[in-house]
Symmetry: C2
Subunit: 658 residues, 2 copies
C-alpha cells in the first residue's frame, strides 16, 4: 500500500544442504537471522533522545523531530525540535548495535532484581517448555536464550498493581510518567528561549481546543504518583512481565495517551519466524504500542521466543491458540492441565498480557444461535465448542483464580477476551455480547482481588450510533478497567478497506474512552497481513488514536498538529514530511508531482501551481492587512471595520468562539 | 494504492507530425480520444438493470449483484441478487456503445424540451464561449459538440425547485425517488419467493438497528411527492442543468442516501484533458455521486466540455478559478463582467452546480489574521485579496441577485463556498468561519426567493469533539439547506493519509446530517491525485457515507451489510468480493494468501487455516446446539438452560437488547 515500504520477505531464507530437519523445511535458521535493514534507520528528520529519570538506568526514549527555521519572508523565527512518543526501541538508535540473534538489552533487569521478590529458575518449569528445549530438531531455529526464566518467590506477588497498592512507585511507573509527558515543558521552554516573541510562540504552539472527555480525568502533567494511583485503582495497567526485561514500560489507561496494538503471527499455511520478527520490528517502527503474536501454525513456541527477546514493546498472546495445537486442533480435548502448562510456558518466555476468554459461559452460548455470523472470535468458538461437548462451564472460567495465581507470579496482565463479540453489524450489541461483558466485569473484581492487572477486550462490528453504548456499559460493568477494542468496524461492505471501516469506529470509541485500539489491516477477512498491511494498519490506528486524544482534550496533543500546520503555512516541505506519521510516504507522494529537490523549498504546492496558490494569497492578504492597518486594533481605531468588530462581538456571544 | 487499478495514463498521447498548435503541445487530439478500457467493464459479479418509471424514457439504472446459493451444509437456500446504487452511467452497460468523442446519450433531453420553458440558442451567449469556438488553435482538441446550448425563455424559471414549488413532480423527481429506494421491495419479495422459509429470510436480511438521526426525517419509502416536497422546501437539491441532459438525476439532501463528491482537475503544471476524462469515468465507476472539475491550468473550457458531455453525474465547478485565469492570475483585476461571462459560459456548457464564495465579506477578512493557516480556500483567498485591494465588498456578494438570475435560467445550483473554512485544527470553528456561515444562511434565503437550489459548503479541519457544532449551526443558520463538507480532517499529522484523517470526520458529520461528503485523497496537501488516488478517496468516502446511513438508520441501508455477513458466514468468497465496494482489491488480497481457485469455495479463510477456523467451529456449535436442543425453546423445556434464560430476561431489561 505504501510506495516506499519494502516488500515483506525473509532475509534469512537458505537452501543450504547442511540444514536439517524442521529448520530446513521452514527455511529459517537462527544463525543466519538478521534484522530487517528497513526497520533500523532513524525516521526521517528524527533522532533518538533519552530523558534520564531519578536513576541513571532509567532512560526514557523519545523521538525528536528537528525543524528548520521559518523563512525570512514569514518572520524568520527559530522552530525548536518537537518531541514525539517513540515505540521503536533501540532499533532507531544508531548507537545501539542490533543483533536479533542476541535480543535487545534488558533495560528492566536491574529493577526486577532489586525488588528481591523473584528468583531465577534453572530452566522452564512448564512441561512443554522443557520438551521444546530438549528437541534436537529445533536446535537450528531456536533462539539462543541465555537468561533463565524468573518467577515470584514463594507466595510473592510481583505485579505492578500490587506494588501500586502498597504505595510503591516503581521505576516502571516513573518511566511511564516521563514518557507520557512527551517533554512538553522542555519544548515550551525552548520556544520561550527563542527570543522576544518566544512567549507568544509558546502560547500559540500549545493552544488547544477544549476536549470532551466523557468523564476521563486527565491531569495537566502526569506524575509518577498519578501513574501509581491509576494502576492501583485498576484504571490503567503497565504490562510488564518480569521475564520481558527488554520491554520499555508503557501504560494503558483512559487518562493516558491512547495506545494501539498491532497483531502479527503466522498461520498453519503461511509465514515463518523471520517474517514475524520483521513484522514486529516494522510494527514498532511505525508506532505499535504493543504487539500481539497470534501465531497458530507450527513452532509457535520458538516464534514467540524470537519475538519477545527482540521486542521493546509489551507482547500479548492468546494462549488458547497454542493449547489447541497441543491437542491436535480438537477443542473438546482441551484440559485445564494443558492450558495451565501453556500459561506457564508463555509467562516464562515473557509474554506481557494474555487474552483469556473466561467470560464465555455455558448459558450464553445458545444466545448466539440466531446470530448472522455466530461466534467469530477464535478463542470464543473454541471455548464454546468445549462447553457444549462437556456440558459444563469452561475450565478457564472454573479455574479463573488459579490463573490469577499464575499471572501474579510473573506479572502477566489479563486481557479478558470478548469471545462472543459481534462479527457483523447484524450481531452488534446483542444479548450474548453484553452478557459476556458483565461476566468480564465480575472477573475483573476477582483479578483485582489478586492485584492482577486487567484490560477488557471489546468489539468488533458496531454501527456508529451503537458504539457509545459499548463504552458506557464497559465502564459501568468493569469499574473503569481499561477497554481494549478491535476497531469496531462501522460497516461490513468494504473488504480490502477494513482498516478504514474500523478506523472510523476506533477513533470514536477512543474518544469515548477506550484506552487501547487493536488495529485492523486492509487484509482483514481476506488474508494474512504482510509488512505493508501492518504499516497501513498502524498508521490508520495512530490517526484514530491521535484524533481521539485531540477530541478528549489530552494535554499537549495538539502540539504536533500545530507544528504541522505552521510548517504547512510556511511551505516548509521537509518539516511537513518529518512531522507526519509517515514521512516516507508523504515525501514520495509529493515527489510524484513535484520531483525536483528545488521544489521542496518552493513557496507553492502542486495543487495550485506557482501562480495560483491560496496560501501565498493569504500571506499577501496578511501583509496587506498589516500594511493597511486592517488588523483588529487599527480597525477599531480607524472605524473602517466597525461592522466587522460589531460582528466579532456578537459572534463571540452567539457561537462561543474563543 | 490499489493493486488492481491501472496506472493513470493517457491512452491518446500522440506525437504525430500532423498535429498543430496547442493541441500538439498538450499531446491531446480529439480525434484520437478513447475511453479508458478499465472503466467500462461491468463490475465483478454485477450487471446493469433498469427500472422503468411512469414513462418509457424514464429508466433508472441499478447495479444488480448476483449471489450464489448457500452451500447445502449451511441450508442450501437461494440468495436472490441484491440491488445497489449505481453511479457509473452507461459505461458499465455492455449494450451501450461508448465513444467519448460523441458523449453520452441525452437521457433528459425530451423532459427538458417537453416543459416548453427553454429555447435553443444559436451558439454560446458568453463572449468567452464564442471566442473559444472561433479559435482555430483549439480545433484539434475541441469536443465535437453538435447540441446548441439552451436557456430559459424570457423570464422563465427552469429550476427543479421552481417546479417543486409549483407542485409539479418532474421526471427528474420521479427518477430520483425510484433510485433512492434501491428496489428494496422487489428484493424482499424475491426473498419471500424463495420458498417456505422466504418470509424468515426477508425479515433477517432487512433487519436493521434503530438509527440516531439527529432530527432527520427519512421516510420508509421515498415517493416522488416526498422528493418534490423536500426540493420545494430547500432541504434537498437535484442538480440538473438543462444543458447537461446526459446527467442521470440524483438528489442531495439529509433525508436521502448520503452522497459523495470526487474532485478532479488539472493544474498549470500537470495533467491533460484525457487524464481528466479518465479520472471522471474512473470516479463514477467506483461511486462518485458528483464530480467537481477544479481545473486551473490551460484549456479549462475545453477540458470541461469533454467532461460534461461524458459525465452521467452532476458536474460542479468553481467559476472563480477560470475567471482568475482570464485576468492573468491577478485577483484584483477581476470584475463582475468577467465573472458574469464565466458563469454564463459554464452554465451553457452544462455545469450543474457552482461553488460561489459569496460569504467572504470584507469585515470577516481581518478575523483570519491571527489564524495558524490563514485562508486556505483558493476561492476565499482570491475574494479576500480582491476585497482588500478595492476596500469594498466583493462583486460576488454585491451581485448575488444577478447571479441568481443566471442560475435560474439554466438551473445551476449554488454550492455556497466556505471561503473562510479552517485549514488546520488550530483554526477550527473560529469566528471567521462561523461569521461566513451565517452569511451563507442569509444568502440561502435570497437564492430561495428566486427558487434557486442551494447547498452549503463546510469545513475543512475540525477535531472530532467540534464537528457537531458545525452541523448544528449549519442547520440553524441555513434553514436545513443541504450541507456539503470537505472531510473534515480530524487531525493534521498524517499527510499521505488524509483520506483517512478526513474519512473519520466525514463519517461523523454524515451521521450528524451532512448530505454530501467531498472526498479527500491520499495526495491531499502533497500533490494532484492520480487515478489510484481517486479510487482510494472514493472508496474511503463510500465507506463514510454508508457508515453514516447505517448510523442514521436509513431504511434498508443494512441489507448490503447483511448480505455480506451472510456470505461471509457461509464462506461464499466470490459473493463477498462482489458485494463489497471494491471487488477487485478484495479478490487480489485474498489471492495473495490463498491463490488457488479451489480456495474460493474453501470453508475456511487464510487467517486461521483449514484446521482452525472460528466460523467453522461456530457452525459446529450451531449444529450441536440444534442436535442437542440447546436452542431457546427447548432450553426452556428441558430446564437445562434455566440460568441462561434467566439471564436473557434480565439482560433484556438491563441492556435494552432487542
Amino acid at each position: 500500500m505504501n510506495p516506499t515500504s519494502p516488500q515483506s520477505s525473509s532475509s534469512t531464507a537458505s537452501t543450504s544442504a547442511e540444514l536439517q530437519g524442521t529448520a530446513a523445511r521452514t527455511g529459517f535458521v537462527a544463525a543466519n537471522a538478521a534484522v530487517d535493514r528497513a526497520a533500523i534507520a532513524p525516521l526521517s528528520g528524527s533522532r533518538k533522545i533519552y530523558q534520564t529519570g531519578s536513576r541513571a538506568d532509567l532512560r526514557v526514549p523519545f523521538r525528536e523531530i528537528t525543524l528548520s527555521s521559518t523563512p525570512t519572508t514569514f518572520g524568520g523565527e527559530t522552530n525548536p525540535p518537537i518531541t514525539v512518543y517513540d515505540t521503536s526501541g533501540p532499533y532507531t538508535d544508531p548507537d545501539v548495535a542490533i543483533d536479533i540473534r542476541k535480543g535487545l538489552p534488558a533495560v528492566r533487569a536491574a529493577w526486577i532484581e532489586e525488588r528481591g521478590d523473584t528468583e531465577a529458575l534453572n530452566g522452564p518449569s512448564s512441561q512443554f517448555g522443557q520438551q521444546r528445549l530438549q528437541d534436537p530438531q529445533l536446535t537450528a531455529m531456536r533462539f539462543g536464550l541465555v537468561r533463565q526464566p524468573r518467577r515470584a518467590r514463594n507466595g510473592a506477588n510481583v505485579t505492578q498493581m500490587h506494588y501500586a497498592r502498597q504505595g510503591i512507585i516503581t521505576p516502571e511507573m516513573e518511566y511511564v510518567a516521563i514518557r507520557e509527558n512527551l517533554r512538553r515543558d522542555e519544548y515550551l521552554q525552548s520556544l520561550r528561549d527563542t527570543g522576544p516573541e518566544g512567549e507568544k510562540w509558546a502560547k500559540r504552539m500549545s493552544r488547544q481546543h477544549p476536549g470532551q472527555s466523557f468523564g476521563a480525568a486527565i491531569p495537566a502533567v502526569i506524575t509518577p504518583e498519578f501513574v501509581r494511583s491509576e494502576v492501583a485503582r485498576g484504571r490503567a495497567i503497565i504490562p510488564a512481565n518480569i521475564n520481558h526485561p527488554e520491554c520499555e514500560p508503557m501504560i494503558i489507561g483512559r487518562n493516558f495517551l491512547t495506545k494501539i496494538n498491532a497483531n502479527i503471527g503466522n498461520s498453519a499455511i503461511s509465514s515463518d519466524i523471520n517474517d514475524e520478527v520483521e513484522k514486529m520490528t516494522w510494527a514498532v517502527r511505525w508506532g505499535g504500542d504493543t504487539v500481539m503474536d497470534l501465531s497458530t501454525g507450527k513452532h509457535i513456541h520458538e516464534t514467540r521466543e524470537w519475538i519477545v527477546r527482540n521486542s521493546p514493546v509489551p507482547i500479548g498472546t492468546v494462549p488458547l491458540y497454542q493449547a489447541l495445537e497441543k491437542v491436535g486442533g480438537k477443542a473438546e480435548d482441551l484440559t485445564w492441565e494443558i492450558f495451565r502448562d501453556t500459561l506457564i510456558e508463555q509467562a516464562e518466555q515473557g509474554v506481557d498480557y494474555f487474552t483469556i476468554h473466561a467470560g464465555v459461559r455455558l448459558p450464553y452460548i445458545p444466545m448466539t444461535a440466531d446470530r448472522m455470523t455466530g461466534i467469530v472470535s477464535r478463542g470464543g468458538s473454541i471455548i464454546a465448542k468445549w462447553c457444549l461437548a462437556h456440558h459444563r462451564e469452561s475450565f478457564i472460567y472454573e479455574h479463573f483464580e488459579d490463573i490469577c495465581e499464575i499471572m501474579k507470579a510473573y506479572d502477566v496482565s489479563f486481557s479478558l477476551g470478548d469471545g462472543l463479540r459481534p462479527g457483523s453489524i447484524w450481531d452488534a450489541n446483542d444479548e450474548a455480547q453484553f452478557a459476556e461483558l458483565k461476566t468480564l466485569g465480575e472477573l475483573t473484581q476477582v483479578a483485582w482481588k489478586h492485584d492482577v492487572q486487567v484490560i477488557i477486550e471489546g468489539p468488533g462490528h458496531v454501527p456508529m450510533q451503537m458504539i457509545k453504548e459499548n463504552m458506557d456499559l464497559q465502564l459501568d460493568h468493569c469499574q473503569e478497567a481499561p477497554f481494549y477494542t478491535l476497531g469496531p468496524l462501522t460497516t461490513d461492505i468494504a473488504p480490502g478497506y477494513d482498516h478504514i471501516t474500523s478506523g472510523i469506529g476506533a477513533a470514536l470509541i477512543g474518544w469515548y474512552g477506550t484506552a487501547m485500539l487493536c488495529y485492523v489491516t486492509p487484509k482483514e477477512h481476506l488474508g494474512l497481513p504482510n509488512k505493508d498491511d501492518v504499516k497501513e494498519g498502524i498508521i490508520t490506528y495512530k490517526i484514530a488514536a491521535h484524533a481521539a486524544d485531540l477530541a478528549k482534550g489530552h494535554p499537549g496533543a495538539a502540539i504536533r498538529d500545530n507544528a504541522m500546520s505552521k510548517a504547512r503555512f510556511e511551505f516548509r516541505w521537509e518539516d511537513q514530511f518529518n512531522i507526519g506519521l509517515d514521512p516516507d510516504t508523504a515525501r514520495a507522494y509529493h515527489d510524484e508531482t513535484l520531483p525536483k529537490d528545488s521544489m521542496k523549498v518552493a513557496h507553492f504546492c502542486s495543487m495550485c501551481g506557482p501562480h495560483f496558490c491560496s496560501m501565498k494569497i493569504t500571506q499577501d492578504v496578511r501583509a496587506y492587512a498589516k500594511e493597511k492597518g486592517l488588523n483588529e486594533q487599527s480597525a477599531l481605531q480607524n472605524g473602517m471595520q466597525e461592522k466587522a468588530i460589531e460582528f466579532r462581538k456578537k459572534g463571540s456571544q452567539l457561537y462561543h468562539a474563543e
